[in-house]
């Protein structure tokens, strides 16, 4: 190496050492993500850019963030793949699908006033404030409703025993319009699964959903209570129709997710449709939990940080006694199980959609009806 080349290499080395600086804490002059993004997208005015450049020139943290954004953009350009094409391996797919599924279920449930007032919340560490309250089970609707059915009472401030949560009201309907709504609800659920599973490209999904939504609206309009007959028919007929409408709307709502916490609130299990179970640990990290079930999960109870019982549709019961490994428990019935309470790994009480309760004292090896 000539002296000139050596000089150049040395200077490079010295310059690199001089430039090295660790990203510090954000200061008041460091912009937020929105400004970073607008800067990167060149959406800021010349004056704004100039002001930011003066700060970025000397801020290792801001430079690091911009470098990361540029790297992300470059990574996306280099690794452009079809939608869902990057899903390789269940280790990547399941957490992403699970997280997205939870979100979809939450969004669907939180749209409806009843569920919002029910206040289903994701609890995290010390921030747990409320838990879902059990909804009073409805009597199954007959094909021609004979008596007005009151809407389920939703307590404004749910207060439960710390080890009990039941989040879903029983859903059953047999009238024609309601059955039609059921089918659409199932399709919509399938649409969500489809969207998450990547079976169809986005435009087709949206078109299908648009059609389904129009059909849904048409069915709902059929369930709208008719005008009161001339001569003033009894209000009971109107109330019956309104109740049927409400049940129809309730039936179309997918079951909401629920959060289950042990008494020490050291973690949260989040349950939802299609056997979804997520664990939110004490560091607020979310982990996918494999329970082996695929049914919709409707309620859970945790008596300690290592014991949790979860129940769901079709008599589904799963349990962990070490906080990590889950096993199925044989249910005494195949009915949808909408509530569970547990005081230990062995002692639990499950409740079916129509109000029957079964208790176990040996971890589910045997049950007796209460």
């Amino acid at each position: 190496m000539s002296n000139g080349e050596k000089d150049g290499a040395q200077f490079e080395s010295v310059l690199r050492r001089a430039m090295v600086a660790q990203p510090g804490a954000a200061t008041r002059d460091c912009p937020d993500a929105g400004i970073f993004a607008a800067y990167y997208d060149r959406a800021l005015s010349a004056g704004e850019r100039e002001r930011l450049d003066a700060h970025f020139a000397d801020c290792a943290r801001c430079q690091a963030q911009l470098a990361a954004i540029a790297r992300a953009d470059d990574g996306a350009a280099v690794r452009a793949t079809p939608i869902f094409g990057w899903l390789r391996g269940w280790r990547i797919a399941i957490p992403a699908l699970a997280a997205a599924a939870v979100l979809l279920v939450v969004v669907q449930s939180m749209r409806t006033p009843g569920i919002v007032s029910q206040g289903v919340q994701l609890a995290a560490n010390e921030d747990l404030e409320r838990r879902a309250a059990p909804l009073e089970p409805e009597a199954p609707a007959a094909s021609a409703p004979a008596a007005p059915a009151a809407a389920p009472a939703l307590p404004a401030a749910p207060s439960l025993a710390s080890d009990e949560i039941a989040v879903n009201q029983p859903m059953s309907a047999t009238s024609h319009g309601l059955v039609g709504a059921n089918r659409l609800a199932e399709e919509k659920g399938a649409l969500s699964r489809e969207a998450l599973g990547g079976a169809a490209p986005a435009p087709q999904l949206m078109a299908k959903q648009a059609v389904n939504e129009r059909e849904m609206d048409a069915l709902k309009s059929k369930a709208v209570p008719p005008q009161e007959p001339a001569g003033g028919a009894s209000s009971s007929v109107l109330a019956q129709t309104r109740a049927a409408t409400k049940r129809a709307e309730a039936f179309t709502r997918p079951p909401p997710f629920a959060a289950i916490q042990p008494p020490d609130r050291s973690k949260s299990w989040i349950i939802g449709q299609h056997g979804l179970v997520l664990l939110r640990d004490s560091n607020s990290r979310i982990h996918i939990v494999g329970t082996g079930v695929t049914a919709d999960l409707l309620a859970g109870a945790s008596s300690s940080a290592t014991v949790c019982w979860i129940v769901g549709r079709g008599g589904t019961i799963v349990r962990t006694i070490d906080g990590e490994n889950w096993s199925a428990v044989v249910s005494p019935v195949k009915d949808d199980l909408t509530a569970v309470s547990a005081t230990s790994a062995n002692d639990a009480v499950i409740t079916t959609a129509d109000g029957k309760s079964f208790a176990t004292t040996d971890g589910g090896a045997s049950w007796h009806q209460k």
């Binding site: 929105g34 993004a37 607008a38 430079q63 470059d74 990057w86 990547i92």
Partner: protein
């Protein structure tokens, strides 16, 4: 909607109508008032709600992305499905690129979903992260910026003390210095020369224009490619390369001048400054003081 927001919405009604239409907000059944309120908050966040610069802000709004974000905040299922379908792959790709590996990328991206919607309530209120998206950039770029911010915070919280880049080089330098300390006798002038070099270098860098300092920082501190730097600075790769070379030459010239004129160092002493500062040990005897030969 408060008085200031109402006044803003009245004053810029035409622009709001245009954005409402361009953003296809009706697709999500978004209320025009909710959309207008979001535009007001976007202007307010940039300090332009009072009027000056508000039109420019509105002209730069990404209406479709903003409408989607508002719809998602409101919990509209169709909007979330669209969001997840169209943005999730890019989000995870970005997280991988930022974090550097698949596992860490997933750890970075997974919790974001819950925060975007605001699953974690505080004081009884859902606080969606999407509240902070104002439409001045694309939604995807904003998501990347959020990921980048979280990654930086994670690096700091992990307690790493070495720089994000250049770890290997620093380790090599450290071991070299340690070896030299054992093998070579201490040089009394070393500390003085290193200090002189440090001061000269700092002064030379401080005298550069901000964009030149940024360019150097991105290249040397963050080891970005010329293409990535060009994207950030709106420059072509060749321009970045040319300007980097020019800036390097300028810095070296200023450093040499400072050492020569302010430090009163000879040419050989200046060479020693570089030797010490660069960590080239043992000393190149050919460059030592003549009387040391």
């Amino acid at each position: 909607m408060d008085a200031a927001a109402a006044e803003f919405c009245t004053r810029y009604a035409a622009a709001i109508d245009r954005l409402y239409k361009d953003g296809n907000a009706a697709r999500w059944n978004l209320d025009r008032d909710a959309f207008a309120d979001a535009l007001y908050r976007a202007a307010a966040a940039s300090g332009a709600a009072g009027g000056v610069g508000a039109q420019a802000i509105l002209d730069s709004i990404r209406a479709e992305d903003l409408a989607l974000a508002i719809a998602c905040k409101l919990g509209i299922g169709a909007a979330w499905e669209h969001f997840i379908t169209t943005l999730r792959p890019n989000l995870y790709s970005a997280a991988r690129a930022i974090a550097g590996d698949d596992m860490r990328g997933r750890e970075l991206a997974d919790p974001l979903w819950a925060d975007l919607y605001g699953l974690e309530a505080r004081e009884g209120r859902r606080r969606p992260l999407l509240d902070y998206y104002h439409g001045r950039s694309s939604l995807l770029t904003w998501l990347r910026a959020v990921l980048a911010q979280r990654h930086i915070d994670y690096i700091r919280a992990s307690g790493r003390t070495e720089p994000l880049e250049g770890r290997g080089e620093r380790a090599a330098d450290a071991s070299q210095a340690a070896a030299a300390a054992v093998d070579d006798p201490p040089e009394p002038e070393r500390a003085r020369f290193v200090e002189a070099m440090g001061q000269a270098m700092a002064a030379a860098l401080a005298s550069l224009a901000p964009r030149d300092r940024m360019r150097l920082g991105y290249y040397y501190r963050h080891q970005m490619s010329l293409k990535e730097i060009g994207r950030l600075l709106s420059e072509h790769e060749s321009s970045v390369s040319r300007k980097l070379a020019h800036t390097r030459a300028e810095v070296k010239s200023r450093v040499d001048r400072a050492l020569r004129e302010d430090g009163k160092l000879s040419r050989e002493q200046i060479a020693l400054c570089y030797d010490y500062a660069a960590g080239d040990l043992p000393i190149d005897l050919a460059r030592a003081f003549p009387e040391a030969k």
